[in-house]
């Protein structure tokens, strides 16, 4: 029985947000602050001949114009990839090969994509900076651009980077079982090609950086819209050649963030503050964000699948081309995630995944909510429905035949995960999950409704998708829990939110251990000054890693509180209990202390025999990822005249283990599903055939609105994780993982007689119209 964990505790951070008093990056104000406007490449690929900023520099209000030349002495380029601690076993087992990585902060002699930062104009306000940017003359000689990764793979294709042969930056092959033989032996074989087009994370707040350098003390403070303040600090330290302890990174309130990593602009703005010796601010505009924040998805999958006549899959072979853009900052994170998750909840003993990260003249692709799993899940679950169609079997029945049974848990999937540990599905009951989803949506009843609607000329369809998610990626997360001098409880954590409710959820965890109301606890994060190490918020990890770090630190603090109280009160700690900000002996009313009493007793010089202070820290190091899972069912209606798709109902059955706050979990699921609906039907970051970026506003890049996203019905399974003390699994990305597959399966089901392939997302009305017409059209 818990007091606070698992309760719908109202969010402690809400008040400042509903009153508009949050402090987001653009609200950080410093005396003498000047604004940056980046000058960005308009060419997909070009040699820079000269940057003439003479006229701009003379403009009233301009503080400076900086190019790569100006920063050369101040910054090193990026040479370390993100989360690059790849276990060597992947090289020996899977032939993993990763090419060299060198990405400049500002473009040096070449630009490799539209939107690449070439120079920065700094002025007393943004209006002047933008005007002056127009006066900077960047002369360049356009070079041929490679837009399609298949062209980049042609033997005679020009090389984007001289030291990366074949334009392939990274490659591996995972073999499980004997996939080729199993495929050859299969009763039936199918070959399909899938395309998951490019999308953008699109937080509603754009990126921003504010930097201040105190010359006298050589202290640099950087405020940034980052998911990983400590990681950013380590990059700044390396690239600016500064002591890590001379740099403080602060992440203010942040208006969402769905992936991306450390950015060149963060280093450039920090360097500018050092060079100009005054505080500098850059607030991105939306066109910059769409073109220059990192993109995601953009994978091609060529799949061969072998199955028997009962519908059991016996072999899966997938050849992945990941279009990584001009640089590949996240090495194989996306493709290895795809390889690790493509078998989904299914019992498939023979698999081969060959993946190549191919370079093109586009924005780099990096993890965004879903991060390779959305892609793999789309591929696997469309295949499931294609097999069902081939065998004239109900997709739900086909899935049940292939699901890993609960009795098989934990299930070693026969390969290593990205962290070098065995890939093991640690817990869960997938068949029960599917049955719950089918019951919730009334699958059988829907089939009757569908038939009746069809008689009335309406096209309704239903689609299923399930997924697994290795969540809570390490290597560690830290927390410090203390009672301050005034007797109040503070939690400091290395993982910080972009909307995920850390201030409430981590307070609940601490409250559970110390038996004090969550609203009495102050949760602080997003500041490298709070604690020496931190991971960050990404990869559905914070509830797992930060949650358990807070839990373990709070347990240590509880012991420490008892130790101090026992010394003050006498009589040993065994019978002492914590309750509501006091420590007491239930059998002896005289033995009681408030946290304030304790704080005084533990102060230095108070005569305590142990070291002073009431503080405990913990760094939780998860043994490996823990597998969350979910099953989604979508009901859609297709308008045959407009070829448009409306999602009518959406059911999620989710297993994220122990829920810390079900209200927050539901919110994560709702938002994730909306993101997935965008990926399925709307969102596409487009380049034309020449490599020009063509979706530079929210009028071109379509986000789902309140009119497109139905209410999401969330049902919870809870199979606690055996891999951490709280039993939690991540829930941040599951919502975004299954919608493309569920929705396209539903569309295919609505138009079942046409036997549409639907092998590409987003499924725009135009693409659907073309497929309907190619299949002979709909007869009314």
């Amino acid at each position: 029985m818990t007091s606070y964990i698992g309760k719908d505790v109202a969010r402690l951070e809400d008040h400042r947000f509903v009153t508009g008093t949050g402090t987001y990056i653009a609200d950080v104000r410093l005396p003498g602050l000047v604004d940056v406007c980046f000058i960005r490449s308009i060419w997909p690929h070009a040699r820079i001949l000269a940057v003439d900023a003479g006229e701009a520099r003379l403009t009233a209000g301009v503080v400076g114009v900086l190019t790569a030349e100006d920063l050369r002495a101040r910054t090193l380029p990026f040479t370390r990839q993100f989360y690059s601690a790849i276990d060597p076993i992947l090289a020996t087992e899977y032939g993993l090969r990763i090419g060299p990585y060198r990405a400049p902060v500002l473009a040096e002699d070449r630009v490799l994509r539209v939107g690449e930062a070439v120079a920065m104009v700094i002025a007393t306000d943004r209006y002047i900076a933008e005007d002056a940017a127009e006066l900077v003359d960047v002369r360049a000689e356009p070079l041929p651009a490679i837009v399609d990764p298949h062209e980049a793979l042609e033997p005679d294709a020009p090389l984007l980077h001289a030291d990366i042969p074949g334009n392939v930056h990274a490659e591996f092959t995972v073999d499980v079982g004997d996939p080729v033989a199993a495929y050859r032996r299969a009763d039936r074989r199918m070959e399909r090609r899938f395309r998951i087009r490019r999308s953008v994370g699109c937080p509603i707040e754009t990126r921003g950086v504010v930097a201040q350098f105190e010359k006298a003390t050589q202290q640099l403070t950087v405020w940034s819209t980052t998911q990983t303040p400590h990681v950013l600090r380590s990059y700044l330290s390396e690239m600016l050649s500064m002591r890590e302890d001379s740099i403080r990174v602060i992440k203010p309130d942040m208006g969402g963030s769905f992936g991306g990593g450390i950015y060149p602009e963060e280093v450039a703005v920090a360097a500018a503050a050092i060079v100009l010796e005054r505080p500098v601010r850059w607030i991105e505009d939306r066109s910059e964000n769409l073109a220059s924040a990192r993109h995601s998805r953009d994978q091609w999958h060529e799949v061969q699948v072998g199955y028997d006549l009962d519908g059991r899959i016996v072999a899966l072979l997938d050849d992945i081309i990941a279009d990584s853009g001009a640089y590949n900052p996240f090495n194989v994170t996306l493709s290895f995630n795809a390889a690790s998750h493509i078998r989904n909840q299914f019992d498939i003993d023979n698999m081969r995944v060959h993946a190549r990260h191919v370079l093109t003249n586009k924005q780099p692709t990096t993890p965004v909510r879903g991060a390779g799993r959305t892609e793999a899940t789309f591929v696997m679950d469309r295949i499931m429905d294609m097999i069902a169609l081939d065998l004239d079997m109900d997709p739900a029945e086909l899935r049940l035949r292939n699901l890993i049974p609960a009795a098989a848990m934990p299930r070693d999937m026969g390969m290593y995960y990205r962290n070098g540990r065995r890939l093991v599905y640690d817990s869960g009951d997938y068949p029960a999950q599917l049955r719950t989803a089918l019951e919730t949506i009334d699958y059988a009843g829907f089939r009757e409704q569908q038939a009746a609607a069809r008689q009335a000329g309406r096209y309704l369809g239903i689609g299923i998708s399930s997924h697994v998610e290795g969540s809570g990626y390490g290597p560690h997360e830290g927390a410090v829990v203390r009672i301050d001098g005034s007797g109040h409880v503070t939690v400091a954590c290395g993982s910080s939110p972009q909307g995920q409710s850390h201030e409430t959820v981590l307070a609940q965890v601490c409250a559970e251990v110390l038996d004090i109301a969550p609203e009495q606890i102050l949760v602080r994060s997003g500041d490298t000054a709070l604690l020496p190490y931190g991971g960050g918020t990404f990869g559905s990890r914070s509830a797992v890693t930060a949650g358990n770090a807070v839990y373990l630190a709070a347990v240590k603090l509880r012991d420490r509180i008892k130790e101090v109280a026992a010394e003050v009160l006498g009589g040993g700690p065994d019978r002492l209990l914590l309750h509501d900000g006091r420590i007491l002996d239930p059998d002896d009313p005289a033995r009681v202390l408030t946290f304030r009493d304790l704080a005084r007793a533990a102060a230095p010089g108070s005569g305590l025999t142990s070291a002073p202070g009431l503080e405990a820290d913990s760094y939780f190091v998860p043994p490996t990822v823990t597998f969350a899972s979910g099953t989604h069912i979508a009901v859609v209606e297709v308008d045959p005249g407009l070829a448009s798709v409306t999602v009518r109902r959406y059911v999620v059955v989710d297993d994220c283990g122990t829920m810390l706050n079900p209200m927050v979990v539901d919110g994560q699921q709702h938002g994730g599903v909306a993101h997935g609906i965008g990926n399925a039907l709307l969102e596409e970051a487009c380049y034309d055939a020449d490599g020009q970026f063509t979706t530079g506003s929210f009028l071109d890049y379509l986000l789902p609105t309140a009119a497109e996203v139905p209410p999401v019905e969330v049902v919870h399974q809870s199979h606690p994780s055996p891999l951490n003390p709280l039993g939690v699994k991540g829930t941040g990305e599951g919502g975004a993982t299954s919608p493309p597959a569920a929705i396209l399966n539903a569309v295919a089901d609505a138009l079942r007689p046409l036997r549409l392939e639907l092998d590409e997302i987003p499924l725009s009305p135009l693409r659907l119209f073309v497929q309907i017409e190619a299949a002979g059209g709909l007869t009314p």
Partner: protein, 189 residues
């Protein structure tokens, strides 16, 4: 620059007068000169709705208005929504109660759009709420809790404002929010 103009308007109930350059947007005027940093800029292209303010009671994209266009108008921002004693407006309360916000960046614009809707339609259906909010983008919540929050706020406002209204809310336009949702505007784009 010498081309500054002096403009006067009402901001959250107080008369204000300021000197601004003609090209400065209303959003920048409010944020940079009048400390209304609850006006959030998400696109500066008039699409996302985060910078929504009420101008003479009607929603406006403050990124698409120039500051000089505010001459003589009455502007309400999120900062002016809570009561004088700091008590939250029913829409603000409902947003928190229904977990209708996560990162909080779209929230001020969303709340002001809801305030406009509820001023015009005290008992909107879920479809009407969705339509009214379809010009405000949210990337975190998936909208369902926002729709619920607006429905809750509508109930609260009906109870506090018109306890003795002769026509019940059901008469005001479709089924009031809170009931089952059975129709949505299709293909808003």
């Amino acid at each position: 620059m010498s081309d500054e103009r002096t403009i006067s308007f009402t901001l959250n109930g107080s008369k204000r007068s300021c000197r601004i350059r003609p090209r400065v947007t209303l959003a920048d005027l409010l944020r940079d000169q009048l400390d209304c940093t609850g006006v959030h800029l998400g696109c500066e292209q008039g699409v996302c709705g985060a910078c929504t303010v009420l101008v003479n009671g009607r929603t406006a994209r403050s990124c698409l208005m120039l500051g000089v266009q505010a001459e003589g108008v009455s502007i309400r921002t999120i900062e002016g929504l809570a009561g004088a004693g700091g008590g939250l407006h029913p829409v603000q309360q409902a947003f928190s109660a229904a977990h209708a916000l996560q990162c909080g960046f779209c929230t001020p614009g969303m709340i002001l759009a809801a305030v406009e809707l509820l001023g015009e339609n005290p008992a909107p259906s879920q479809a009407q709420i969705r339509e009214a909010l379809s010009g405000n983008l949210c990337r975190c919540t998936g909208y369902a809790n926002i729709v619920s929050a607006v429905g809750r706020a509508a109930e609260t406002l009906r109870e506090t404002r018109a306890p003795e209204a002769t026509s019940g809310p059901e008469a005001a336009g479709g089924s009031p929010a809170g009931g089952a949702e059975n129709s949505r505007p299709e293909g808003a784009r």
